[in-house]
Each structure stands twice: as C-alpha cells, then as structure tokens.
C-alpha cells in the first residue's frame, strides 16, 4: 500500500486548560509606585492608558491613583463620580484594613470588585473598567465605567422586513443582550458568558430559555466552546467555524441574524443564541434546512400569503441552483424537450456564438460573480459605475459582438436575481458555489447528470446535522406535527407544538383553548345603531 493510506501519527495532545492559563498571573504589590510601574511596563507605556495620581485625597491617608483606558471608559463618570468622590469625601479616622472596605461606602457606582492579581486586573482594565490603587494595599478596586463611542441601534441592513421591529443588533454585546431581554421578559432567559481568544479576550455569551432549550444541547455547546483556543475572535463567524457539526459542507449548519426578534423567536423554539462581542450577527443553532427559506415576516402575515411566499423561495432556490445548468442540459443534450418555436429562437441566437453552451454559461456566470464581488467591495460612490459597466459592457456589448447569446444573458440575469432574492445569505452563497457543480454535471451528462447531482445533494443534506439535530428534519426524519412550519406555514393557531428536535420534552406552546379564532355564532354582525336588533 502506498504511504497515502498510512495512518497519521497521533497528534501530541496538549490539554486545552494548560494552554489557557498564561503564566503571568502574579499578585499585586503593596507599593503603589511598583504597581504603576508594572502597568506602564506591561502595556508598553501605551498613550491611551491614563494614570491619574491622587496625592492629596483626604480619603486615603496614603497616595492613591486611578488607572483607566481613554476611549473605552465614560469620562464623565470618571470625572464626576470616581475622582470627585475620592477627593471630596470625608477623611477617615483609622485606616481600613482592605480597599473594599475603604471605598465601598463612598463610591456611588454599581459594579465594584477587588482585584488581586494582574491577569484579572488587565482584563478589567482592557474592558473599560477603572482601577483604583492605593499605597499599602495588595489589592486594587475595579469599578465599572464602560463607555465611549459606539454605534447606536440602527435598522438592520440584512434581513429587512416591512412589518416588524426596526431594531438591529450593534457591536456591543451588552446592548445586544439587553435587546433580547426586552423582548423576552422572563427570568428563565439564562445567559452564560465566557471569554474566548488568547489575545483578543472576546466576550462570548450563550443565551437560552431554561426549560425550553434542551440541556444536552447546551452542554454540548459549552464543551465545544471550551475547546476553542485561538488568538482572536473578530466576528461570530470565527466561533461558528469552530463549533459546526460538519466543516466540509456547502451548507450552513448555524443561522445568524442581525434582528433581536428573530433571535427571540428562535429562543422560544428551543434554540440557543450565541452573542459575540464586536459582532452584530448573533448565531443561532440548532438549525434545519427549511429555516433558511423562512423570514420573520412569515409569522406576521396571514398564513396563506406566507405559504405562497415560501413556495416562491423554494422556486428561487431551484432557479439559482440549476438555472444555467438546465439551459446547458436542454440546449446540448435534450433539444427535443424545448418547444420548436423556442428552440428555433435559441438556435438563431446560438448560430453566431463561437463557444459551446457550457463555456458560454461559464463565461457569463464568472463575469457576473466578478461584477457582484466588485459591487460589494466598491465604495458606494463608484457602485453605480459598476452597474453601468455590468449592464452595458457585459450585457449589451457581449451580445452585439456575438460572444454570448441573449438567451444566456437572460438566464444569468434571472439566476442572479433569484440568488439575491434568497432570504438567507448563508444559503445564497452555498448555492452560488453548487451552481457551478451543477453546470459541470449538466454539461457532462445532461439532465441525467443533474439528477445524479440532486441525488448526491439530498444524500449529503440528509447526512448533515446541527448540534445533533438532523438537517432535513422535520421532513426527513418526518415529524408530522412540525410540518406546519416548514415549506408551508400553517396558521399560527394551529402551530401547537415547538419543533420536536429542539425542545425536547417541553413541546406544547399553546394553551388548549387557544385555537382558531371563532367568535360565537350568536354574536352576529354589529348593527348600525345599538338598539336596532331588538
């Protein structure tokens, strides 16, 4: 056997915990100057670290200092509360034994903690806390003074909805969590925060509704998160890639949303949300395939409209997946399937095109992908130039030059629009990739090849799972009660159960009496004047 088949030598495994705790967790010194020197030393004397010495504070019998990061802290709080109260408070008779005792009663701030080692101190400092030192104590006080410039809450730029909340998540994890808390006002909404990233120390918060979410899934999530030991987490996408069930797939097994109402809705169905500081995209899992065809608005509109829209989205999915592939297959293998008049029209256009259909389609699709990529990266001001170049040069000129046929341009355009109309970006980009595979299979075997492609696709999809939940559920495995909210969207009042795979044993979400709205028959119609019907 060639060496290719040989087993890899087992990796030398370092325990994750060993790597996690860096060695520099030494205790603070008693001497103020020494402590300040350590701070200066460790931060490389960074200019945005402000060290304010309070030499004549009556409160402290000794010298004191406050340390904070400019920009991450609210300067007003520091000036008006921290510094003022420390400077103006009454002098003490005896020196208190600990920092906590000394400050607690005098500093009107909510979150206050004594810090004894450098590791915690730096973490607090870097996250916007103000650290109070005093000479003669081997501890410092960390007070919560986070602030600074942040993006305010805006309308989400992805997942827009006509009817529904206008709030979108921001980059601040606290704001994001509070937005969901405002929607679900229930003590059962539990959160757990951990820090991930050796260098960035990014806050990551798990949120779920205790009692609805399955404990085993949350436990699984925790263990997966604990395994992550990387330099930095810059976006929730980083986390997503480390905790996915299957890495080698074109399909997303986690959902991400910029909308608090979407997150709340998913929490209520038993999913968990994963907030990552610095990212307005909140991860949701476990997800199923059909979820990517759903939009928040489906639930606010009447069910038949929503069902029709969902069917449309399935159609959109298929158009963007096999649009060009169908054209290639039909024009190179199955000309008999095209009505004569249409075939003649296509043949007339193809007459002057020097390439086979497949090459023609490939050229146009790649061109379109280039245009799309350019459109995203371009500054907004030049964006319109791209559309002119795209529409005129590529569209019109290519057709006039006889390089591509107009039919092909139509196909590519429909495919592109369909791709943009896909409600979930995650599925849209997977489809973008798969489209090319389908084009290849259509060019080699025609419709037969496309069907082969579909079989492989379905097999692959049914093998996927998201945190253990089968990706194609509730269609396969089939859960009759959950069909109400798949490609069809039954009336809300008929949707009595939470998704079976997500919510474990606690599935009922509607009271027995809550059913189809049916006013009493005797109620009748209201008459114009109150006394008329007597």
């Amino acid at each position: 056997m060639p060496s290719f088949f040989k087993k890899k030598p087992p990796k030398d495994k370092k325990t994750a915990k060993e790597q996690k705790k860096p060695a520099g967790s030494s205790p603070l010194s008693v001497v103020l100057d020494e402590n300040l020197a350590v701070i200066k030393d460790k931060t490389g004397n960074s200019t945005d670290i402000i060290i304010r010495r309070l030499n004549h504070s009556p409160r402290f019998k000794t010298e004191a200092a406050i340390v904070y990061l400019k920009g991450l802290t609210d300067s007003q709080t520091i000036q008006e509360i921290v510094i003022e109260s420390l400077m103006k408070s009454d002098p003490v008779e005896t020196r208190p034994s600990s920092m906590q005792e000394m400050i607690e009663g005098y500093l009107p701030l909510g979150n206050m903690e004594p810090v004894k080692d450098w590791e915690t101190l730096f973490q607090a400092l870097m996250s916007g806390h103000t650290i109070i030192f005093a000479d003669g104590y081997s501890e410092a006080m960390s007070t919560s003074t986070e602030g600074g410039e942040r993006r305010s809450i805006e309308e989400p730029s992805t997942q827009r909805a006509i009817r529904g909340s206008r709030e979108g998540f921001t980059e601040s994890i606290e704001t994001n969590i509070s937005m969901v808390r405002r929607i679900i006002q229930n003590p059962n909404l539990w959160t757990e925060t951990m820090t991930i990233g050796r260098v960035t120390k990014t806050k990551v918060t798990i949120m779920y509704v205790k009692g609805i979410a399955r404990d085993d899934i949350i436990e699984e999530l925790r263990s997966r998160l604990e395994k992550i030991d990387i330099d930095g987490v810059l976006e929730s996408g980083y986390i997503e890639q480390y905790i996915e069930d299957q890495a080698i797939t074109a399909f997303p097994t986690m959902y991400h949303s910029e909308r608090p109402d979407v997150v709340a809705g998913n929490l209520l169905e038993g999913r968990f949300a994963l907030f990552v500081n610095g990212s307005p995209f909140v991860l949701l899992a476990p997800v199923v395939f059909v979820q990517f065809f759903q939009s928040i608005e489906d639930y606010t509109e009447r069910f038949y409209i929503s069902t029709a829209l969902r069917f449309l989205r399935v159609l959109i999915f298929f158009i963007s997946l096999i649009g060009p592939a169908t054209y290639i297959a039909a024009t190179t293998f199955h000309q008999e399937m095209i009505p004569t008049q249409l075939l003649v029209a296509i043949a007339a256009q193809r007459e002057s095109v020097p390439f086979p259909s497949f090459v023609e389609a490939l050229i146009m699709e790649v061109t379109f992908e280039i245009l799309r990529e350019a459109g995203i990266r371009m500054p907004k001001a030049i964006g319109s130039a791209i559309s002119i170049v795209g529409a005129l040069v590529i569209g019109q000129a290519a057709v006039q030059a006889g390089v591509v046929s107009p039919a092909m341009v139509i196909i590519v355009a429909i495919t592109a629009i369909a791709s943009f109309a896909t409600p979930s970006f995650g599925i849209a980009i997977s489809v973008r990739l798969l489209r090319f595979l389908f084009m290849i299979s259509a060019a080699t075997f025609g419709f037969f090849g496309m069907i082969l492609g579909f079989i492989i696709l379905v097999v692959h999809l049914s093998g996927l799972r998201s945190f253990g939940v089968p990706y194609l559920s509730p269609l396969a495995p089939f859960v009759p009660a959950d069909i109400n909210d798949t490609f069809v969207r039954g009336p809300l009042w008929a949707d009595r159960k939470r998704p079976a795979f997500m919510s474990g044993n606690n599935q009922t979400r509607q009271g027995e009496d809550t059913g189809r709205p049916q006013p009493d028959q005797s109620r009748g119609m209201v008459t114009k004047n109150e006394g008329d019907d007597q």
Binding site: T332, Q335, T340, V344, A345, E351, G449
Partner: protein
C-alpha cells in the same frame, strides 16, 4: 475505512470528467428537420425530401442572423432503398446532424401510398429515438410530396408548421379533415377491426413557383398547400379518396367533429339556415338481430343557429323542432353517404369491426379475416342523429322578418 471511502469516491468522481460530454450535441451542429416528404422515383426507390429550418431567418430582425433575408427553410433530397439510407445519404448534402425531434410532419405522396403503402415506411419513424410518434402524417394528393415540402408559406414562416396548424385549425372549426399522427396510423394498422384514414394535401399553383420567395411576397401567394380530402387505406395501401361532405361524414362517424356547420334548405332557398355544431358525441355499436349483425351510428349533437337567410320564427319551439329534424336528416345523409363510399372501397375506416369485436368476441374470431371484404362491405348500417338547438346566438327572430 474513511480514507478508503474517500479515495473510492474520488475515483468515482473523476469518472465524471473522463466521460467527456457523452452524446452532447451543440445546437450549432444540428440541422433541425421540420418536415419529411417521401416520393417514389422511377426505379421504385424512396426519395426523401427534408425541410430544414434556418433558425436565423425564422426569428427575423435578430442581429447576426441576417433577419428575414433568406428563406425560413432549406430543402434537400436524397434517394435510398430504405428510410435509414435516405437519411444517411443526406450527409453528402447537409453539413450537420439531422435532428428529427422537431420534425412534426411527414408527407407521403399518393403514388407511394398506392404502390408501396405506408407499411415499409413507418417502422423507421417508429423505431428512431428522436423521431416523434406524434408527428402528423399527410398524403400529398395530385402533387409530389417534394413539391409540398418545398413550398414556402407566408404567415407561418416554417411551411411544416403552417400545414400542421392548418390541419388542426380546420379540424377544430370545419371538421372535414383530421390531424392524424403516426401513432394513430400504426394503431389502426395493427387493429384488424379498423383501417387508417389520413388527411390529404394538395398544392394550389405549381411546385416551381412555390419554391421562391417571390411567391410569398405577394398578397396572394402563387403556390400554397391546401387541405383536400381524406385518403382511405386498406392493408396499409391507399385505396381511394373522399371529399367534401363525405369526408366530413367520416369524421362524424369517427367522433372527431369538434365544431362544424350544417346547412338546411328552407323555403326554396338552398342552404338557408346554418346550424353551428358546438359539441357532439358519436357512438358506433354492433348488435345482433335474428342472427344478423347490425351496425349502428348514433350521433348526439348540440349547437346554435348560425345564420338564417330566410325569415323563420325562432321564437316558436315547434319551428325549432322542425329545424332540428332537418339538421338531423342532413347529418344522417352525410354519414350514410360516407359509409356507403367506404363500403364500396371495402375498407372499414370507422372501426365497426372493433364494435363487433367488443359485442360478439366469438363471432369476431371467426369473421375477422374476411371482415372488410365480405361483412363490412355488405353490412347494413343504421344511422341516427339527434340534434338539439341550444341557443339562437344574439338574436331570436332575424331582422329579415321585419323587412318583408
């Protein structure tokens, strides 16, 4: 194990790329055949005339195609002893693969249909994977099939399309013709209780002028294909033709009439009252009376008054009843004359044999061989029509009543 699977899958997947593009045919490499015409030459060989679509000239006004400059179709012929040879010899004249999936018309000359019949031809069409069984088959009457295929047509640019649409339209509103598909003919040929009948086409003007665009540049094209008559077959060979009301009688009996127009003479004026048939149902049946087989045609039809040339009191139900009786007689006469004509030719194109087969299977076994020649030709056929005037269109009594 996983590794083996991965390698195995990789090998399988590479097959995709090794296969090349199996049976791929680019549109630019196809010659789209729209119609096939078949004649006999003097040596008794088949002459196939193929009508090819020039896509660029059909769509018209499209850049790169030279819109509408040339003819919508080009026609080439070749000879051979069988269909396959005819088709393959075409490669000496046509630079592309002949593609039959859109050939919807087969024209067979009456000479060929008489001398050799359709039996030696149809197998090739039936067997070929691309050729459609649903292609229309017609007989060229008093004209060579080649000339019909060569004739350019005006509004429908592809002549084959024009001829098929003509047949379908005429079948729908007039009823004297039928759109017969290859599979219908094959079914009738294999059915011992029914013989095929195929619509005929003739050519107005000469084949020579029809070939040029000059012909269709005029408001009245010099040459144009026209529907004419129904060809009766027996044993796969053409035995005779029926025209006009006799042809329509055949279509009535076959229950293929969709809409048509029945005229009644009244008050000395010929064809004074028109009856627009809007729906009908015709049943043929066979039954025994005193050991003798009787055949019966029963027509149920319904329609509107289409026209009155003489004043009639259409408000009166009795008048309507009289009219209905009159229409029934006309229909009965048409059908009877069609059946008599077929009996003369000794070919049961109506499927009475099938009716006998259904009602008296045992007798049928005995007589099926001699059905056409002996039994059908002498059989007594009872024809009964039931007409019903549903409405009188927008008017009841015509303004003509007031004119006098």
């Amino acid at each position: 194990m996983k590794r083996y699977m991965a390698v195995f899958l990789l090998l399988i997947m590479s097959l995709t790329f090794l296969s090349g593009c199996w049976s791929k045919k680019e549109l630019n490499d196809l010659a789209l055949v729209s119609a096939v015409g078949l004649d006999l030459d003097k040596q008794g060989r088949f002459v196939g005339t193929f009508q090819f679509i020039n896509p660029g000239n059909v769509t018209g006004g499209f850049q790169g195609g030279g819109g509408g400059q040339g003819n919508a179709v080009s026609v080439y012929s070749s000879k051979g002893d069988n269909m396959d040879e005819v088709s393959r010899r075409m490669s000496t004249k046509v630079s592309r693969n002949l593609y039959y999936a859109h050939a919807n018309l087969v024209v067979i000359s009456d000479e060929l249909a008489k001398k050799k019949g359709v039996l030696p031809i149809l197998d090739a069409f039936d067997r070929d994977a691309t050729f459609r069984n649903t292609a229309t088959i017609v007989i060229a009457h008093h004209v060579k099939a080649a000339d019909l295929v060569k004739t350019l047509t005006a509004i429908d640019k592809i002549p084959a399309n024009k001829m098929i649409k003509l047949l379908r339209f005429s079948e729908r509103v007039w009823g004297g013709t039928m759109n017969v598909m290859i599979m219908d003919v094959i079914r009738d040929l294999t059915d011992d209780g029914k013989q095929p009948v195929i619509s005929g086409f003739n050519l107005k003007g000469s084949g020579e002028t029809g070939k040029t665009t000059q012909s269709i540049m005029q408001t009245t094209p010099e040459s144009a294909p026209q529907i004419g008559g129904l060809a009766l077959f027996k044993g796969g060979k053409l035995t005779g033709w029926l025209y006009g009301s006799q042809a329509r009688g055949v279509v009535w009996t076959l229950n293929k009439i969709k809409k048509t127009d029945i005229n009644l003479s009244k008050k000395g004026k010929k064809e004074a009252i028109a009856f627009e048939v809007i729906r009908q149902n015709t049943k043929i049946s066979a039954f025994k009376i005193d050991g003798e087989t009787h055949l019966k045609v029963k027509v149920d039809t319904e329609g509107n008054i289409g026209e009155t040339k003489v004043p009639v009191n259409l408000k009166d139900p009795m008048v309507i009843k009289q009219l209905e009786d009159g229409f029934e007689k006309v229909i009965e006469k048409e059908i009877t004359s069609a059946i008599t004509a077929a009996q003369k030719k000794k070919t049961d194109i109506f499927g009475f044999g099938d009716a006998v087969h259904r009602s008296q299977p045992k007798t049928w076994k005995r007589i099926s061989d001699k059905w056409d020649d002996t039994y059908f030709a002498k059989a007594k056929v009872e024809v009964e029509a039931d007409a019903f005037v549903r409405r009188t269109a927008l008017r009841n009594n015509s303004f003509l009543s007031d004119v006098e």
